[in-house]
Protein backbone atom coordinates (compact mmCIF):
# COMPACT_ATOMS: atom_id res chain seq x y z
CA UNK A 1 0.00 0.00 0.00
CA UNK A 2 1.42 3.43 -0.85
CA UNK A 3 1.95 6.06 1.81
CA UNK A 4 -0.70 8.36 0.36
CA UNK A 5 -3.44 5.76 0.76
CA UNK A 6 -2.26 4.92 4.25
CA UNK A 7 -2.24 8.57 5.25
CA UNK A 8 -5.75 9.06 3.89
CA UNK A 9 -7.06 6.11 5.88
CA UNK A 10 -5.35 7.33 9.03
CA UNK A 11 -6.86 10.76 8.49
CA UNK A 12 -10.28 9.20 7.94
CA UNK A 13 -10.08 7.27 11.20
CA UNK A 14 -9.07 10.32 13.21
CA UNK A 15 -11.75 12.38 11.50
CA UNK A 16 -14.37 9.83 12.51
CA UNK A 17 -13.07 9.88 16.05
CA UNK A 18 -13.24 13.68 16.22
CA UNK A 19 -16.74 13.61 14.72
CA UNK A 20 -17.78 11.17 17.43
CA UNK A 21 -16.35 13.49 20.05
CA UNK A 22 -18.27 16.42 18.56
CA UNK A 23 -21.56 14.51 18.43
CA UNK A 24 -21.13 13.45 22.03
CA UNK A 25 -20.50 17.01 23.05
CA UNK A 26 -23.70 18.05 21.26
CA UNK A 27 -25.63 15.33 23.05
CA UNK A 28 -24.27 16.50 26.34
CA UNK A 29 -25.20 20.09 25.58
CA UNK A 30 -28.82 19.18 24.89
CA UNK A 31 -29.08 17.26 28.12
CA UNK A 32 -27.65 19.75 30.58
CA UNK A 33 -31.10 20.82 31.78
CA UNK A 34 -32.20 17.37 32.74
CA UNK A 35 -32.29 16.41 36.36
CA UNK A 36 -29.76 13.96 37.54
CA UNK A 37 -31.35 11.14 39.47
CA UNK A 38 -29.00 8.24 39.48
CA UNK A 39 -26.11 7.74 37.21
CA UNK A 40 -22.66 6.46 37.48
CA UNK A 41 -20.94 9.81 37.47
CA UNK A 42 -22.88 11.70 40.10
CA UNK A 43 -23.22 8.82 42.51
CA UNK A 44 -20.05 6.85 42.26
CA UNK A 45 -17.63 7.30 39.42
CA UNK A 46 -16.05 3.99 40.22
CA UNK A 47 -19.13 2.25 38.84
CA UNK A 48 -18.86 3.98 35.49
CA UNK A 49 -16.87 1.13 34.03
CA UNK A 50 -14.40 3.61 32.70
CA UNK A 51 -11.91 0.81 32.79
CA UNK A 52 -14.08 -1.17 30.42
CA UNK A 53 -12.33 -1.54 27.12
CA UNK A 54 -13.04 -3.47 23.98
CA UNK A 55 -10.49 -5.99 25.19
CA UNK A 56 -12.25 -6.36 28.53
CA UNK A 57 -15.50 -7.41 26.87
CA UNK A 58 -13.83 -9.81 24.47
CA UNK A 59 -14.54 -13.48 25.15
CA UNK A 60 -12.13 -14.64 27.86
CA UNK A 61 -9.95 -17.70 27.35
CA UNK A 62 -11.69 -19.53 30.21
CA UNK A 63 -15.24 -18.14 30.63
CA UNK A 64 -15.96 -20.13 33.80
CA UNK A 65 -12.94 -18.65 35.56
CA UNK A 66 -13.83 -15.19 34.34
CA UNK A 67 -17.43 -15.41 35.57
CA UNK A 68 -16.22 -16.34 39.04
CA UNK A 69 -13.56 -13.64 38.91
CA UNK A 70 -10.77 -16.16 39.16
CA UNK A 71 -7.29 -16.22 37.74
CA UNK A 72 -6.25 -19.67 38.87
CA UNK A 73 -2.59 -20.51 38.67
CA UNK A 74 -3.09 -24.27 38.64
CA UNK A 75 -5.44 -25.12 35.81
CA UNK A 76 -5.89 -28.75 34.84
CA UNK A 77 -5.66 -29.05 31.07
CA UNK A 78 -6.30 -32.73 30.42
CA UNK A 79 -5.12 -34.18 27.12
CA UNK A 80 -6.69 -37.61 27.41
CA UNK A 81 -10.01 -39.06 28.57
CA UNK A 82 -8.30 -40.54 31.65
CA UNK A 83 -6.85 -37.18 32.67
CA UNK A 84 -10.23 -35.56 32.13
CA UNK A 85 -12.00 -38.14 34.30
CA UNK A 86 -9.40 -37.65 37.01
CA UNK A 87 -9.83 -33.87 36.90
CA UNK A 88 -13.62 -34.10 37.19
CA UNK A 89 -13.45 -36.60 40.04
CA UNK A 90 -11.14 -34.28 41.92
CA UNK A 91 -13.96 -31.72 41.96
CA UNK A 92 -15.87 -33.81 44.53
CA UNK A 93 -14.94 -35.13 47.94
CA UNK A 94 -15.87 -38.57 49.32
CA UNK A 95 -19.28 -37.27 50.46
CA UNK A 96 -20.20 -35.91 47.05
CA UNK A 97 -19.56 -32.31 48.12
CA UNK A 98 -17.81 -29.91 45.81
CA UNK A 99 -14.18 -29.21 46.43
CA UNK A 100 -13.24 -25.57 46.14
CA UNK A 101 -10.36 -24.47 43.99
CA UNK A 102 -11.02 -26.78 41.05
CA UNK A 103 -10.11 -25.34 37.67
CA UNK A 104 -10.36 -27.40 34.52
CA UNK A 105 -10.00 -26.14 30.96
CA UNK A 106 -10.33 -28.71 28.24
CA UNK A 107 -10.78 -28.98 24.47
CA UNK A 108 -13.08 -32.03 24.23
CA UNK A 109 -12.34 -32.71 20.56
CA UNK A 110 -8.60 -32.93 21.14
CA UNK A 111 -9.12 -35.12 24.21
CA UNK A 112 -11.47 -37.63 22.61
CA UNK A 113 -10.50 -37.34 18.93
CA UNK A 114 -6.84 -36.43 19.20
CA UNK A 115 -5.95 -39.28 16.85
CA UNK A 116 -8.52 -38.34 14.23
CA UNK A 117 -7.24 -38.18 10.66
CA UNK A 118 -9.30 -35.03 10.20
CA UNK A 119 -6.62 -33.18 12.21
CA UNK A 120 -4.09 -34.02 9.50
CA UNK A 121 -6.44 -32.42 6.94
CA UNK A 122 -7.03 -29.38 9.13
CA UNK A 123 -6.46 -26.81 6.41
CA UNK A 124 -8.44 -28.53 3.65
CA UNK A 125 -11.38 -26.72 2.09
CA UNK A 126 -13.94 -29.36 3.02
CA UNK A 127 -16.85 -29.13 5.44
CA UNK A 128 -15.22 -31.81 7.58
CA UNK A 129 -12.05 -29.74 7.86
CA UNK A 130 -14.07 -26.61 8.71
CA UNK A 131 -15.90 -28.51 11.45
CA UNK A 132 -12.58 -29.86 12.73
CA UNK A 133 -11.13 -26.36 12.94
CA UNK A 134 -14.09 -25.10 14.98
CA UNK A 135 -14.12 -28.12 17.28
CA UNK A 136 -10.36 -27.90 17.83
CA UNK A 137 -10.78 -24.28 18.89
CA UNK A 138 -13.71 -24.97 21.24
CA UNK A 139 -13.01 -25.38 24.91
CA UNK A 140 -15.00 -26.09 28.03
CA UNK A 141 -13.99 -24.64 31.38
CA UNK A 142 -15.16 -25.57 34.84
CA UNK A 143 -14.27 -23.90 38.12
CA UNK A 144 -15.30 -23.88 41.76
CA UNK A 145 -14.53 -21.39 44.48
CA UNK A 146 -15.47 -21.08 48.12
CA UNK A 147 -16.22 -18.01 50.24
CA UNK A 148 -13.33 -17.35 52.55
CA UNK A 149 -15.07 -15.65 55.47
CA UNK A 150 -18.21 -16.13 57.56
CA UNK A 151 -21.06 -15.94 56.69
CA UNK A 152 -20.12 -16.33 53.02
CA UNK A 153 -18.88 -19.89 52.99
CA UNK A 154 -20.89 -20.96 49.98
CA UNK A 155 -19.33 -22.89 47.14
CA UNK A 156 -19.72 -21.28 43.72
CA UNK A 157 -19.39 -23.20 40.49
CA UNK A 158 -19.21 -22.10 36.90
CA UNK A 159 -19.29 -23.98 33.65
CA UNK A 160 -18.29 -22.20 30.48
CA UNK A 161 -17.55 -22.72 26.82
CA UNK A 162 -15.54 -20.80 24.27
CA UNK A 163 -15.49 -21.33 20.55
CA UNK A 164 -13.49 -19.58 17.87
CA UNK A 165 -15.65 -19.93 14.79
CA UNK A 166 -13.29 -18.10 12.44
CA UNK A 167 -9.58 -17.41 12.93
CA UNK A 168 -7.39 -16.45 10.01
CA UNK A 169 -4.42 -16.42 12.38
CA UNK A 170 -4.95 -19.97 13.65
CA UNK A 171 -1.47 -21.20 14.75
CA UNK A 172 -2.34 -24.85 14.04
CA UNK A 173 -3.39 -24.00 10.48
CA UNK A 174 -0.34 -21.80 10.02
CA UNK A 175 1.96 -24.59 11.16
CA UNK A 176 0.31 -27.16 8.93
CA UNK A 177 0.46 -24.90 5.89
CA UNK A 178 4.12 -24.21 6.55
CA UNK A 179 4.98 -27.90 6.99
CA UNK A 180 3.13 -28.72 3.76
CA UNK A 181 5.67 -26.61 1.90
CA UNK A 182 8.65 -28.61 3.16
CA UNK A 183 9.80 -30.81 0.32
CA UNK A 184 12.76 -32.86 1.51
CA UNK A 185 12.91 -36.54 0.71
CA UNK A 186 14.87 -39.46 2.03
CA UNK A 187 17.46 -40.94 -0.30
CA UNK A 188 17.65 -44.70 0.16
CA UNK A 189 21.16 -46.13 0.61
CA UNK A 190 22.81 -47.69 -2.45
CA UNK A 191 22.26 -51.36 -3.15
CA UNK A 192 25.70 -52.31 -1.92
CA UNK A 193 25.03 -50.74 1.50
CA UNK A 194 21.50 -51.91 2.33
CA UNK A 195 21.96 -51.46 6.07
CA UNK A 196 22.94 -47.79 5.82
CA UNK A 197 20.57 -45.02 6.91
CA UNK A 198 18.80 -42.95 4.25
CA UNK A 199 20.09 -39.41 3.80
CA UNK A 200 18.16 -36.21 3.12
CA UNK A 201 17.88 -34.28 -0.13
CA UNK A 202 15.78 -31.43 -1.44
CA UNK A 203 13.62 -31.39 -4.56
CA UNK A 204 16.68 -30.70 -6.70
CA UNK A 205 18.47 -33.66 -5.07
CA UNK A 206 20.86 -31.40 -3.19
CA UNK A 207 21.89 -32.92 0.16
CA UNK A 208 20.18 -31.47 3.24
CA UNK A 209 21.78 -31.79 6.66
CA UNK A 210 19.82 -33.04 9.68
CA UNK A 211 20.32 -29.67 11.36
CA UNK A 212 18.93 -27.77 8.37
CA UNK A 213 15.98 -30.14 8.19
CA UNK A 214 15.18 -29.64 11.89
CA UNK A 215 15.53 -25.90 11.45
CA UNK A 216 12.79 -25.91 8.78
CA UNK A 217 10.30 -27.20 11.36
CA UNK A 218 11.59 -24.87 14.04
CA UNK A 219 11.00 -21.98 11.65
CA UNK A 220 7.44 -23.19 11.04
CA UNK A 221 6.76 -23.32 14.78
CA UNK A 222 8.17 -19.85 15.24
CA UNK A 223 6.27 -18.42 12.31
CA UNK A 224 2.95 -19.97 13.30
CA UNK A 225 3.49 -18.87 16.91
CA UNK A 226 3.90 -15.25 15.87
CA UNK A 227 0.24 -14.41 15.89
CA UNK A 228 -1.08 -11.97 13.35
CA UNK A 229 -2.35 -9.16 15.54
CA UNK A 230 -5.06 -8.03 13.14
CA UNK A 231 -6.34 -11.43 12.01
CA UNK A 232 -10.00 -11.99 11.11
CA UNK A 233 -11.82 -13.84 13.84
CA UNK A 234 -15.23 -14.58 15.30
CA UNK A 235 -15.36 -15.80 18.88
CA UNK A 236 -18.32 -16.67 21.08
CA UNK A 237 -18.31 -17.71 24.71
CA UNK A 238 -20.70 -18.25 27.56
CA UNK A 239 -20.73 -19.34 31.16
CA UNK A 240 -23.32 -20.24 33.77
CA UNK A 241 -22.72 -20.19 37.48
CA UNK A 242 -24.39 -21.81 40.44
CA UNK A 243 -24.13 -21.40 44.17
CA UNK A 244 -24.41 -24.03 46.86
CA UNK A 245 -24.69 -22.53 50.33
CA UNK A 246 -23.67 -25.74 52.05
CA UNK A 247 -21.42 -27.13 49.33
CA UNK A 248 -23.75 -30.00 48.45
CA UNK A 249 -25.07 -30.77 45.00
CA UNK A 250 -28.68 -30.85 46.27
CA UNK A 251 -28.70 -27.20 47.28
CA UNK A 252 -27.37 -25.84 44.00
CA UNK A 253 -29.16 -22.84 42.56
CA UNK A 254 -28.50 -20.52 39.66
CA UNK A 255 -26.13 -17.65 40.32
CA UNK A 256 -25.90 -15.68 37.10
CA UNK A 257 -24.52 -16.05 33.64
CA UNK A 258 -22.44 -14.29 31.03
CA UNK A 259 -22.21 -14.42 27.28
CA UNK A 260 -19.61 -12.87 25.03
CA UNK A 261 -19.29 -12.36 21.30
CA UNK A 262 -16.54 -10.74 19.29
CA UNK A 263 -15.76 -10.29 15.61
CA UNK A 264 -12.55 -8.88 14.22
CA UNK A 265 -11.89 -7.82 10.66
CA UNK A 266 -8.52 -7.22 9.12
CA UNK A 267 -9.18 -3.88 7.40
CA UNK A 268 -5.80 -3.84 5.71
CA UNK A 269 -3.03 -6.34 5.35
CA UNK A 270 -0.88 -5.15 8.19
CA UNK A 271 -1.89 -2.00 9.98
CA UNK A 272 -5.55 -1.85 10.99
CA UNK A 273 -8.29 -3.96 12.51
CA UNK A 274 -11.98 -3.36 13.21
CA UNK A 275 -13.37 -5.10 16.29
CA UNK A 276 -16.99 -5.45 17.39
CA UNK A 277 -17.64 -7.04 20.77
CA UNK A 278 -20.49 -7.50 23.20
CA UNK A 279 -20.92 -8.94 26.66
CA UNK A 280 -24.15 -9.72 28.50
CA UNK A 281 -23.85 -10.56 32.18
CA UNK A 282 -26.73 -11.34 34.50
CA UNK A 283 -27.00 -12.01 38.21
CA UNK A 284 -23.75 -10.27 39.06
CA UNK A 285 -23.43 -9.38 42.74
CA UNK A 286 -22.15 -5.82 43.11
CA UNK A 287 -21.75 -3.34 45.94
CA UNK A 288 -24.53 -0.70 45.69
CA UNK A 289 -23.22 2.62 44.32
CA UNK A 290 -24.19 4.53 47.48
CA UNK A 291 -22.93 1.89 49.87
CA UNK A 292 -19.82 2.42 51.95
CA UNK A 293 -19.69 -1.23 52.86
CA UNK A 294 -16.79 -3.30 51.70
CA UNK A 295 -19.28 -5.93 50.83
CA UNK A 296 -17.62 -8.61 52.90
CA UNK A 297 -19.91 -8.59 55.87
CA UNK A 298 -22.79 -10.45 54.33
CA UNK A 299 -24.80 -11.01 51.25
CA UNK A 300 -27.17 -8.15 52.18
CA UNK A 301 -24.42 -5.73 51.22
CA UNK A 302 -24.75 -6.74 47.59
CA UNK A 303 -27.20 -5.88 44.86
CA UNK A 304 -27.94 -7.93 41.77
CA UNK A 305 -26.83 -6.30 38.55
CA UNK A 306 -27.48 -7.23 34.95
CA UNK A 307 -25.33 -5.48 32.40
CA UNK A 308 -24.81 -5.30 28.68
CA UNK A 309 -21.68 -3.80 27.21
CA UNK A 310 -21.32 -3.59 23.46
CA UNK A 311 -19.11 -1.60 21.19
CA UNK A 312 -16.55 -1.37 18.52
CA UNK A 313 -12.98 -0.30 18.09
CA UNK A 314 -10.50 0.43 15.38
CA UNK A 315 -6.93 -0.54 16.10
CA UNK A 316 -4.24 0.80 13.83
CA UNK A 317 -0.51 1.08 13.69
CA UNK A 318 2.38 -1.28 14.02
CA UNK A 319 3.10 -3.98 16.54
CA UNK A 320 5.49 -1.65 18.40
CA UNK A 321 3.39 1.54 18.30
CA UNK A 322 -0.33 1.61 17.78
CA UNK A 323 -3.52 3.42 18.56
CA UNK A 324 -7.10 2.52 19.39
CA UNK A 325 -10.39 4.39 18.99
CA UNK A 326 -13.19 2.82 20.99
CA UNK A 327 -16.90 3.38 21.43
CA UNK A 328 -18.94 1.43 23.97
CA UNK A 329 -22.55 1.30 25.06
CA UNK A 330 -23.07 0.30 28.66
CA UNK A 331 -26.51 -0.67 29.88
CA UNK A 332 -27.13 -1.72 33.47
CA UNK A 333 -29.94 -2.70 35.73
CA UNK A 334 -28.65 -2.52 39.28
CA UNK A 335 -31.10 -3.55 41.98
CA UNK A 336 -33.90 -3.11 39.45
CA UNK A 337 -32.84 0.43 38.54
CA UNK A 338 -31.82 0.89 34.92
CA UNK A 339 -28.96 3.04 33.77
CA UNK A 340 -27.24 3.37 30.45
CA UNK A 341 -24.60 5.56 28.87
CA UNK A 342 -22.13 5.61 26.01
CA UNK A 343 -18.42 5.72 26.54
CA UNK A 344 -15.69 6.73 24.14
CA UNK A 345 -11.98 6.49 24.30
CA UNK A 346 -8.67 6.91 22.57
CA UNK A 347 -5.52 5.10 23.43
CA UNK A 348 -1.99 4.50 22.32
CA UNK A 349 0.45 1.79 23.17
CA UNK A 350 4.20 2.05 22.73
CA UNK A 351 6.67 -0.75 23.02
CA UNK A 352 9.46 0.53 25.24
CA UNK A 353 11.70 -2.51 25.32
CA UNK A 354 11.13 -6.20 24.93
CA UNK A 355 8.12 -7.34 26.98
CA UNK A 356 7.39 -3.83 28.28
CA UNK A 357 4.63 -1.67 26.81
CA UNK A 358 3.40 1.77 27.86
CA UNK A 359 -0.35 2.19 27.47
CA UNK A 360 -2.02 5.58 27.57
CA UNK A 361 -5.81 5.88 27.41
CA UNK A 362 -8.21 8.76 27.46
CA UNK A 363 -11.84 7.89 28.00
CA UNK A 364 -14.94 9.87 28.61
CA UNK A 365 -18.49 9.00 29.45
CA UNK A 366 -21.66 10.85 28.60
CA UNK A 367 -24.95 10.07 30.31
CA UNK A 368 -28.28 11.52 29.37
CA UNK A 369 -28.86 12.49 32.97
CA UNK A 370 -25.50 13.95 33.68
CA UNK A 371 -25.14 17.61 34.55
CA UNK A 372 -21.48 17.82 33.83
CA UNK A 373 -21.85 15.43 30.95
CA UNK A 374 -18.29 14.59 30.30
CA UNK A 375 -15.95 12.69 32.53
CA UNK A 376 -12.43 12.23 31.44
CA UNK A 377 -10.13 9.57 32.61
CA UNK A 378 -6.54 9.25 31.64
CA UNK A 379 -5.00 5.97 32.46
CA UNK A 380 -1.50 4.81 31.90
CA UNK A 381 0.06 1.53 32.73
CA UNK A 382 2.93 -0.74 31.95
CA UNK A 383 2.27 -4.17 30.60
CA UNK A 384 4.41 -7.13 29.67
CA UNK A 385 2.00 -8.10 26.91
CA UNK A 386 1.18 -6.13 23.77
CA UNK A 387 -2.44 -5.21 23.24
CA UNK A 388 -2.18 -5.92 19.53
CA UNK A 389 -2.48 -9.67 19.76
CA UNK A 390 -5.20 -11.91 18.53
CA UNK A 391 -7.82 -12.88 21.05
Amino acid sequence: MNMLTASRRLLLIWSLALLGHYLVAQTQATNTNKTSTSDCITTDASTCDLNATITDISPPDSPAFSLLGLSPTNVNKPNSPAELASSVLNAFDDNGHFQSGTAVDVVPFLVFKGKSFSLGQYTDGTMTAAATRVLSRSSVSFATTKGTSTPDTAVRLALGFRSTLIDSGDPRAGFQTCVHDINVHLVPPPQEKPAAQPTLADAQNNPVSDADFRQMFTDCRTKSGNKIWNANSVVVAGALSWISTDGSTSSLKSNGSAFWGSASWNMTTDWAQLIVSARRQTGQQVVPPTSTSSGTTGTDSYMIQDSTVAGGAVKFGRSDFNGTVTGLYIGKRTGGRPDSYPEFGFGVEKKLVNSLYLELNYRYDVTQKSVSGVLANIKWSFSQQPKLKTH
Binding site: G120, F175, V179, H180, H185, A203, F217, R221
Partner: protein
Protein backbone atom coordinates in the same frame (compact mmCIF):
# COMPACT_ATOMS: atom_id res chain seq x y z
CA UNK B 1 14.90 -38.90 13.30
CA UNK B 2 14.03 -41.64 10.80
CA UNK B 3 11.56 -44.41 11.55
CA UNK B 4 11.68 -47.50 9.35
CA UNK B 5 8.57 -49.60 8.96
CA UNK B 6 8.97 -53.30 8.19
CA UNK B 7 9.40 -54.14 4.50
CA UNK B 8 6.23 -55.25 2.70
CA UNK B 9 5.35 -57.27 -0.36
CA UNK B 10 2.84 -56.08 -2.94
CA UNK B 11 1.08 -57.79 -5.82
CA UNK B 12 -0.32 -55.57 -8.56
CA UNK B 13 -2.70 -56.73 -11.30
CA UNK B 14 -0.76 -55.83 -14.45
CA UNK B 15 -3.99 -55.59 -16.44
CA UNK B 16 -5.61 -53.20 -13.98
CA UNK B 17 -5.43 -49.45 -13.71
CA UNK B 18 -2.48 -47.67 -12.14
CA UNK B 19 -2.42 -48.19 -8.34
CA UNK B 20 -2.84 -45.21 -6.01
CA UNK B 21 -1.21 -44.36 -2.70
CA UNK B 22 -2.86 -42.41 0.11
CA UNK B 23 -1.58 -41.27 3.50
CA UNK B 24 -3.61 -40.33 6.56
CA UNK B 25 -2.45 -38.97 9.89
CA UNK B 26 -3.54 -36.88 12.84
CA UNK B 27 -0.46 -34.66 12.46
CA UNK B 28 0.89 -32.26 9.88
CA UNK B 29 2.90 -33.78 7.06
CA UNK B 30 5.47 -32.66 4.56
CA UNK B 31 5.52 -33.75 0.92
CA UNK B 32 5.47 -37.51 0.55
CA UNK B 33 7.52 -39.35 -2.03
CA UNK B 34 7.59 -42.71 -3.77
CA UNK B 35 10.84 -43.81 -5.42
CA UNK B 36 11.64 -46.90 -7.45
CA UNK B 37 14.94 -48.70 -7.68
CA UNK B 38 16.42 -48.92 -11.18
CA UNK B 39 19.73 -49.93 -12.66
CA UNK B 40 20.75 -46.28 -12.42
CA UNK B 41 19.80 -45.93 -8.76
CA UNK B 42 16.62 -44.64 -7.13
CA UNK B 43 14.27 -42.58 -9.29
CA UNK B 44 11.43 -40.38 -8.11
CA UNK B 45 7.95 -41.60 -9.08
CA UNK B 46 5.64 -39.53 -6.85
CA UNK B 47 6.31 -36.17 -5.19
CA UNK B 48 3.02 -34.94 -3.74
CA UNK B 49 1.51 -33.31 -0.68
CA UNK B 50 -1.75 -33.57 1.21
CA UNK B 51 -3.17 -36.22 3.48
CA UNK B 52 -6.38 -38.06 2.68
CA UNK B 53 -5.96 -37.84 -1.09
CA UNK B 54 -5.21 -40.86 -3.30
CA UNK B 55 -2.39 -40.16 -5.74
CA UNK B 56 -1.55 -42.35 -8.74
CA UNK B 57 1.83 -44.09 -8.42
CA UNK B 58 2.95 -42.92 -11.82
CA UNK B 59 6.10 -41.20 -12.99
CA UNK B 60 9.63 -41.88 -14.11
CA UNK B 61 9.85 -45.48 -15.30
CA UNK B 62 6.37 -46.33 -13.95
CA UNK B 63 3.66 -45.62 -16.52
CA UNK B 64 1.23 -48.51 -16.12
CA UNK B 65 0.30 -51.28 -13.71
CA UNK B 66 2.40 -53.68 -15.78
CA UNK B 67 5.54 -51.73 -14.80
CA UNK B 68 5.23 -52.69 -11.12
CA UNK B 69 6.25 -56.35 -11.38
CA UNK B 70 9.56 -57.22 -9.62
CA UNK B 71 10.20 -53.55 -8.79
CA UNK B 72 11.37 -52.37 -5.37
CA UNK B 73 9.69 -49.19 -4.15
CA UNK B 74 10.52 -46.83 -1.30
CA UNK B 75 8.20 -44.25 0.18
CA UNK B 76 8.87 -41.53 2.77
CA UNK B 77 6.94 -38.84 4.60
CA UNK B 78 7.69 -36.67 7.63
CA UNK B 79 5.12 -35.96 10.34
CA UNK B 80 5.53 -32.96 12.61
CA UNK B 81 3.95 -31.63 15.79
CA UNK B 82 3.62 -27.98 16.69
CA UNK B 83 5.57 -28.59 19.90
CA UNK B 84 9.28 -29.25 19.81
CA UNK B 85 9.34 -30.74 23.29
CA UNK B 86 6.03 -32.45 24.11
CA UNK B 87 5.62 -36.03 22.86
CA UNK B 88 2.47 -36.49 20.78
CA UNK B 89 0.89 -39.77 19.75
CA UNK B 90 1.27 -39.93 15.97
CA UNK B 91 -1.04 -42.12 13.93
CA UNK B 92 -0.06 -42.93 10.35
CA UNK B 93 -1.92 -44.94 7.75
CA UNK B 94 -0.70 -45.77 4.25
CA UNK B 95 -3.03 -47.42 1.73
CA UNK B 96 -2.23 -48.66 -1.78
CA UNK B 97 -5.32 -49.40 -3.86
CA UNK B 98 -6.02 -50.61 -7.38
CA UNK B 99 -9.45 -50.48 -8.96
CA UNK B 100 -11.13 -50.06 -5.59
CA UNK B 101 -9.28 -52.98 -4.01
CA UNK B 102 -6.88 -52.44 -1.14
CA UNK B 103 -3.55 -54.03 -2.06
CA UNK B 104 -1.63 -52.91 1.02
CA UNK B 105 -2.52 -51.12 4.23
CA UNK B 106 0.09 -50.09 6.80
CA UNK B 107 -0.82 -48.66 10.20
CA UNK B 108 1.48 -47.23 12.82
CA UNK B 109 0.81 -45.57 16.16
CA UNK B 110 3.58 -44.29 18.41
CA UNK B 111 4.61 -41.07 20.18
CA UNK B 112 6.94 -38.68 18.48
CA UNK B 113 8.59 -35.47 19.63
CA UNK B 114 9.04 -32.64 17.17
CA UNK B 115 9.13 -34.42 13.84
CA UNK B 116 9.88 -37.86 12.50
CA UNK B 117 10.49 -39.20 8.97
CA UNK B 118 8.78 -42.48 8.18
CA UNK B 119 9.95 -44.77 5.39
CA UNK B 120 9.30 -48.24 4.07
CA UNK B 121 10.45 -50.55 1.28
CA UNK B 122 7.71 -52.25 -0.78
CA UNK B 123 8.69 -55.20 -2.97
CA UNK B 124 6.41 -55.94 -5.91
CA UNK B 125 5.93 -59.56 -6.88
Amino acid sequence: MNYRLADKDLTVNPAGSIPTIEFNSNLSSTHFHVQVQTANGWQMVVDSVGLGHAVAIKGGPINSAADFATKRFFWDLTLATDSETDPIEAVLEMVIEQDGNTLLRVDDDHSITGQESYYEYVNCK
